[in-house]
Amino acid sequence: MRPLFREQILPGGVACSVTAFIWWGGLTFPEDNDILSASISVAAIFAGFLTTAMSIIAGLTGRLVHRLYAAGYAGKIVWYMAEAALFSLLFCVHCFIGYFVKPAETPWFTPLWFLFAFWMLASFVRVTIILILMILLNAKKA
């Protein structure tokens, strides 16, 4: 498997495996709504961080960063950011829906909650690693 392909499917792969595991284990959602409001706060922080990360990356103009873009990676980096932001939003919306349905009695709610949560987390970790590397690249004189 090519590293680029692996890097692209890893967050989805992690999220789907966790979800399958939860589905198989038949885990049910907690009764009270505290976890939903906590989740929304976490997702909002992630989305906020991602927006900041996007503006940081847009401002990086070092020679090595430019070389990374020129080699064709610009599209992938943008796509990774978009994926992380999109799943943060989906997770947020899903938690809002949780206020209207009874999560503990709705069979699809728990697996989906795990799917979005882990997809968001994994793609967020990927973006963070890339952001750190790009900041280092920008600082490096070569």
Partner: protein, 290 residues
Amino acid sequence: MKIDLYKLEPVGNHDLDGKIRRVLDMPLEERNRQRQKVYYRIETAQKIRHRWLIDFVQLRLDHGPGRAGLSSPMTNFEMEAGEGFGEDVGLLWDPRNDYCAVQYNHHSVRARAMAEYLSTVLPDQPHLMTLQPVLDRAFAARLRQKTIYKKLEVTVSVPLLDHNDYAQGNSVIGAARALLGSGVQTMHLTISAGRRELHRGMISNFVDWARGQEEADAGDGAANTRSALSSAKLTGKDDEDSASEVLDLLSQRVTTHESVRTGAGVRFTRDDRWNALERAFDRWHSYWRQ
């Protein structure tokens, strides 16, 4: 104008003659081929006394020079949309012995790109051929005389990251790490035998390989910058008692400088360039006459 002697080395039977004629029958826009972001093509070709004289043009469509003089200010050239600058360069090919005289134009098509064009210009008639620089006779003899090889020094310029990394499926994180990890842009490699000697077979393989590499030069966006070897030196002795001698494997090619007048538009005229190629090629008859 610098001219180098090359040997066309096709694998198996080729019909380059027919191929060139087919290219000449094609309209201009169909002859363009792209190589690393620039377009180049066979502009014109003519068979004169058994020899093909071929003109390649490399197009520069992004930006270019202007018109200026010692007492006149810099002004723009008038251009239509879709036009840019072209750099032409000549190739003489003698089909009877497959030797070629190649004009060197730093800003235009070079030997390796020419060979690639001739190999692949007709998709239904692909045929691998390479242009190998011919080694100077005296140098080749000196190289043969050396029976003891002591040291091999090579300088390679390493491309940091390019399209190939992406095409090969290298990950974003991997690519960024590669850029971070090695600030190396040139790599010096020395293979020294110390008191003993280097293996002859390895040296002759290396000389053959180095011969095919074009000299690397920094910082031009032309179609020919893929090569990376910037110096290759071999130290050897005739026998145990003689002194060591350093042979530069890259600069010992058959080459000459011909003076060419500039014509209208401050450019070398095609006739003058082709004449210079013929003059140089005739002077090298000892190489190509069997």
